[in-house]
Symmetry: C2
Subunit: 369 residues, 2 copies
């Protein structure tokens, strides 16, 4: 089957690029001397995760318990759920950990720890646990110098029901950067602050085996990870327009795109309408430059720079056409690099896997929580 | 089952409010003397559509061919696909129309009409067709005075393969309004321009049976629909925070919400983290006031005005807590009215249907294209 035979909208995954991107990050982890525990939340499918762990120890990172179950069923044996453990799901997490020994959860609050300890004690079940550290992003995690942080680490470390693995941080603030230099500064901060915090805990007598960091932009650019034991980038499998605009990848490395068709054409008003709306692309505004993705030619991959995807309603994508000529015709295909591949991919029940213009496979991702 | 027993995130549909909202619009259509052909794209499930058409002729409007098939299988016999017919799906649309006599498509371009006529001729199959009219929104549709518009209408009307139904418009620009008065002006423009265009075609000898208009804001506020034959509002089944902010509904009429839990709590930084991220709510910015939804108490429905949902990453919702006290505790439940219910609902594989705090049903919506 050829791309031209797919109906639209369709999610396309370029397998050559996925292989390039996963190989690149694999080699990078080896070169940096750290273990690679890639995040799988961008694609949520077994096939891409297998490429990510190739040549590594096989551990992965997930964002939901549904992913943990799906990947365990698919043969993955070492899974970290890198999300603040919801107390309402403690029982499920503990039950799941009885079926997968190397399943770890993340905690940053005493109330959550109380609930986890209580549930584990009731079940006589032990579970791996990480302490979440805020390396500057300001979303979740304890901070350095906070006495509660030390108390959490001590209690995790001392609990008979917990196998305290170490600390886990995510430099999500690298997404606020707009240049490789700025990303590099965040990467250094991520490493320095997390390694220092590990030392702080060790100085207080807590054994910290794992120092886990990672975002795609910082892991792409960081030069030194001394003191770090594992990294957890994820978006790099697909990359996206946003990553290319902030200097985290090249546009030709973006492996995920959405195939659309021209369904409306209005030369007198300088606009076209595509069948790729908010339910095919997501309304992530990317860098905020009022475009919901980059239009490219489906064959050549060259950007269609005259077209700007200025508006998304549920199923319509409105494109302002800024040039005089070259406006695509009714029925013509457009391949869109979305602002944020994680959110766009999550909208599609299947990915059409392509090499060049050939459709070579179909991947069915995990959904829900 | 009670709401408190659901895991989070979960999509909640308040059945009392859905019944109130659908009854309200049903009575409104009767009072205005127009047929109600409600749009079902907001919820995409049979149960809600049945409430929408109760007491009316049973016709519905869909946004995708997947919806058309799903609702036809569910017993709906009169379906308009209110989206510019993609030429790549002409064959499927014609085949489907052979199984459902009262299936109509929408066309606004000569190339699309050529493809439809060619496909229909090859199959000796006829199909219902509407001409899409741009009543001021500027997204899709022909405009008044455009000679191509008349040519399209004439050809549709004269074709042996087409049953030309009339014209169809959507006042999507009502969503740019920020007051009931502004919406009312758009509603009048929608009616006046569409009815005038129908007259223009009739003056040229084209029979125009249907004059179809409708958006939820305009149908909520319009006072007179003389010359209009049918209306197609859809969002009103659920409404959402955005509709309440622009004056199209009251906050207590919003029937769709997302149940979340507090998974992170940081009083020293004035923030909490919820398990309702972009994949539970969508990144629609609503009125652009940098909040991704309104936090309410799950029991009382009262707004939790101190909390502002300022950031969504894939699974995390970051809330800035502006008051001194009252910050919800770890594990506490929050019910979020999303900015845009159509996009939030589309992210959930099931809706938990509630009356008060009781979960009374589960609805499974249609997905894909």
């Amino acid at each position: 089957m050829r791309i031209g035979e797919l109906s639209t909208p369709s999610a396309l995954v370029d397998l050559d690029k996925v292989e390039h991107n996963t190989r690149w990050m694999s080699e990078r982890a080896h070169a940096l001397g750290v273990r690679l525990r890639p995040h799988v939340k961008t694609h949520k499918c077994l096939e891409a995760a297998r490429l990510q762990v190739d040549g590594h120890f096989g551990g992965i990172t997930v964002s939901t318990l549904a992913e943990a179950r799906y990947f365990a069923e698919g043969g993955f044996e070492d899974i970290t759920w890198a999300f603040p453990l919801p107390v309402g799901r403690v029982g499920e997490a503990l039950d799941f950990s009885q079926t997968l020994e190397r399943f770890a959860v993340v905690v940053d609050h005493l109330d959550t720890l109380d609930a986890l300890e209580e549930g584990a004690g009731r079940r006589c079940a032990s579970i791996r646990v990480f302490l979440k550290f805020d390396c500057g992003y300001g979303r979740a995690g304890v901070r350095s110098g906070d006495p509660v942080a030390l108390e959490l680490a001590r209690r995790m470390s001392d609990s008979r029901w917990m196998d305290f693995r170490g600390i886990l941080a995510h430099a999500g603030h690298s997404y606020d950067c707009r240049s490789p230099e700025a990303i590099l500064r965040i990467a250094e901060q991520e490493r320095n602050s997390t390694v220092s915090f590990a030392e702080e805990l060790r100085d207080s007598g807590v054994t910290v085996d794992e120092v886990s960091v990672g975002s795609t932009p910082t892991m792409r650019l960081v030069e030194d990870l001394e003191g770090v034991t594992e990294i957890r980038p994820g978006n790099y499998v697909f990359f996206d327009l946003f990553q290319s605009l902030i200097g985290s990848c090249e546009p030709e490395e973006v492996a995920f795109s959405v195939l659309g068709s021209v369904v409306g054409r209005y030369p007198e008003r300088g606009s076209i309408v595509l069948d790729t709306g908010a339910l095919a692309l997501s309304k992530d505004v990317g860098t905020g430059e009022s475009s919901f993705g980059l239009l490219t030619h489906p064959q050549t991959g060259q950007p269609w720079a005259e077209g700007r995807l200025v508006g998304l309603s549920q199923e319509h994508g409105k494109v302002i056409w800024e040039g005089r000529g070259g406006m695509p015709k009714i029925g013509e295909r457009v391949r869109i690099l979305p602002n944020h591949s994680c959110l766009s991919a999550a909208l599609h029940p299947v990915y059409h896997v392509v090499r060049g213009m050939d459709v070579v496979d179909t991947w069915r991702p995990c959904r829900g929580w």
